[in-house]
Every structure is written in C-alpha cells, then in structure tokens.
C-alpha cells in the first residue's frame, strides 16, 4: 500500500516535469524557460526524496542538498545572463 502511494507520487512528479519540459520547448520568452528549468530542479529534488524513502536509505540526502545548491546557482546565472547579457563582470564600473 505504502509503496503504491510512493510510486504514484513519483509518477505524478514525472507528469509535472513533462509539463515543464513542454514549457521549455514552447515558452515564448527566455524567462519562461529559466523558470521552467528551476521548476524541473525542484520536482527532481522531491522525486529523489521519495525514491530515497522507497529504497529506505539515507544516502541520497547529500544529493538533494547538492541539487538544490546547483539549481540555485544555475537559476541565478541564467537570470543574470538574460538581464545583463554578461555573466562574469571583470570590474564594476560604478
């Protein structure tokens, strides 16, 4: 019973990821795509948590934290590139 519910939750997360992939392919503007990538990362984090409950192991908790950090940095760099057009400024000019 418990495993059925957890598998159903993973399947629903896959549906959410598929909808976000549709937004990445179709999205009219670049910020839509950046936010869809961030949503995919959040859904992947939740899926990893449910899989680690399914396998009854604690080994994936570090992977969850690392994926959160990497998606944070990735979203920041995407939004900075969209807004400024440059990722790493050599020297701030103000």
């Amino acid at each position: 019973m418990k495993e059925t519910i957890l598998l159903l939750a993973v399947a629903l997360f896959f549906v959410a990821i598929a909808l976000s992939v549709y937004r990445i392919v179709k999205g009219p503007s670049m910020p839509d795509r950046a936010i869809a990538l961030d949503t995919i990362a959040v859904n992947l984090i939740s899926s990893i948590a449910i899989v680690s409950v399914l396998l009854s192991t604690k080994a994936f908790l570090d992977a969850i934290l690392i994926l959160g950090i990497l998606s944070f940095i990735g979203t920041i760099s995407f939004s900075k590139y969209i807004e400024r057009g440059v990722l790493i400024e050599r020297k701030r000019n103000d």
Binding site: A59, D62, I66, I73, I76, R84, L87, I88, R90
Partner: protein, 140 residues
C-alpha cells in the same frame, strides 16, 4: 544606468558560508558516507562562483587573493607526497597508515593518511575549476 542588485549580493554573502560549510562536511564525511574530495572541491568552487556571479571578478580576487594555479600545484604535491612517503619507511608505494588518537575535543578518533590524499584531490579540483572559470571570464 546604475544597476542595483542588493538582494542578490546580500543573499550571496549568506549562502556562501552555508555552501562552504556543507562542502567541508562532504569532504570530511567522505570516508564513511557518500562524498569525498571531488564533490567537496566542486562545491567549494561553486560557492566561490556564486560570489563571482553576485559581485565581480576584481572584488573576489582582492577578497581571496589566491593564485589558483599554485593551488593545483600544492594539491598535486600533497597527493604525490602522501603516496610516496611510505617508500621512505620501507613500505610499498601508496600504503596508507591509520591509528586511533585521543583528541581533546573529538574524543577517540581514527585518523587516516588517505585523508591527506583526499585533501590533495580537493585542492586540485578547486584550483582547476576556478582557473577555468577565471580565464574564461577575463577575456573579452
């Protein structure tokens, strides 16, 4: 137009320490749980990359003042030194030693020379990643 990203800079200042402490934890816990020198080094590099993204290259360079190529050399020297030290005491190459020590704060702790080799890997990964990112960011 003068840009003002105070929220990004304040968040980066706080999150940098969280990521750095987590990378130290991953590096130290690598002997018994998932993690180790490679993932810890990549996390430290991504923390510094977050600072470079929020501020600029010049500010981070004056803040840290580390030559990352020297960091790579130091890491390789540490790894090779740890691996070749047993040859001088009559053991094969890459023999590791461990023993239990009574440390003042941690209690009875097992210290292993594989951790020194892992520290070399950590320094090399941090140095190589930041050398790549810095040299890509510096050219126009």
């Amino acid at each position: 137009m003068k840009t003002n990203d105070v929220i990004l800079q304040f968040t980066a200042k706080i999150v940098f320490f969280i990521i750095f402490l987590f990378s130290i934890h991953i590096f130290m816990a690598g002997h018994y749980t998932p993690g180790g020198g490679f993932v810890g080094g990549l996390l430290t590099a991504s923390a510094i990359v977050l600072l470079i993204l929020a501020f600029d290259l010049k500010t981070v360079q004056t803040g840290f003042n580390i030559n990352y190529r020297l960091l790579v050399a130091t890491g390789l020297l540490l790894a090779v030194g740890t691996a070749s030290f047993p040859m001088f005491v009559g053991e094969p190459f890459f023999t590791h030693f461990y023993d239990y020590f009574e440390l003042p704060f941690f209690g009875n702790t097992s210290l292993h020379t594989a951790m020194l080799f892992d520290a070399g890997v950590y320094l090399v990964v941090v140095g190589v990643t930041l050398t790549i990112i810095q040299s890509i960011g510096e050219d126009e």
